[in-house]
Symmetry: C2
Amino acid sequence: MIKVSLIGTGNVSYHLKEALTKAKNITLLDVHSSRDELFSKIVQKENQAKQPDIYIIAISDDAISTVSQQFENSKSLIVHTSGSVSISALPNGIRRGVFYPLQSFSKEREVDFQSVPICIEAEQKKDLELLKTLAKSISKSVYEITSLQRKSLHLAAVFINNFTNHMYQIGNELCDQNEVSFDILKPLIAETARKIESLSPFDTQTGPARRKDKKTIEVQLAQLKGVNHKEIYTILTNSILKTYEEKL
Amino acid sequence: MIKVSLIGTGNVSYHLKEALTKAKNITLLDVHSSRDELFSKIVQKENQAKQPDIYIIAISDDAISTVSQQFENSKSLIVHTSGSVSISALPNGIRRGVFYPLQSFSKEREVDFQSVPICIEAEQKKDLELLKTLAKSISKSVYEITSLQRKSLHLAAVFINNFTNHMYQIGNELCDQNEVSFDILKPLIAETARKIESLSPFDTQTGPARRKDKKTIEVQLAQLKGVNHKEIYTILTNSILKTYEEKL
């Protein structure tokens, strides 16, 4: 049995709580807000019987450094769940690590944690093993990666999640401008994402820029109304052209 | 029974052939390459018993105008399948229309045509009814739209399909640069697309730009190596900021 204590009341904590509660070899001792007075007392009294093996700090990036100061005398393994914060934001000299579930969480949507990749990191081998056991008890996909790799994954996620969603937003705006239903595009959105499961994005690229179809590119640019849309169209078209440029 | 003749040997024709062959109330008379000598003869002899109700010209955009000249004396309904070509590219004075299946087709991937939206257009009411019957016999989603609306849908598709795929490509490049597996991001790609089935892209937007988190934006910009990636990050970040700007 791995005894876990969870700090934080946001989306990640909410879904982690669900997953940890269901897992067979885990005892979730408690869930606390980082502002909890109770939480501070628990940290001070942790030498008692109910000391957790792992504290998971699932709070906002900015608060990790400050809140984790309370653990500077802790004997437990202390991990945060952030994609972009280094392991060294946690106090020096304690057993520290990272437990980063790479998925977009919101309280309104159910999450199948079994398919959420969990990226783990720790400084000591036994802590890494402990984190691996914890991660494997709730997910099928567990990866050991460094802080630097995690940071680059988090940045890649901005492109494949945040910026992709903005492409959907622009598509929606273009539909609205011409009074056609955005629903017509939804099967294409689904298929675009599904292709990536088995093929590389380099191989699945299609469209006027991929075909070097300058005529269509010009027509489409003229069709776009806002300066903003024109600029995005141009820069992404050039970037695709560059990606497939035949090297002389 | 609707008698159909299919012109073209590309991806759209390939999958249309599959779907039309399976449909109960359709007889697919023949499939011809637009370069076929046989095809020209058939067009000339169409007054015979086997005259199709509809010719579907599923060929490249550039060839539609030229190839469709052969139908200028036809009594059948002539439709093309392009997203960006106007109905008026077909010869004047004939029964003409558009039958545009909005999906990304490749011969390697199976297509469930029942879930492919088909956008139809015709100049005469009875032709529109005929196209509707044809479309509904292979798909659950049939939309009547104008040439202008179709053109804007096709442009929106460049954003939600071609440009989204390029976001995946950049994500992949960032993973390669830091030697992490792109596979870790695949569940997030799937979830990003899945959210759009039930929520609007305006509501699903997340990330540093959505939170107006200038500190993270700066850190991530510094992290990007290529000029190209920096430029795309900047322009899309600004566009998201603009989208959610509080109006004073």
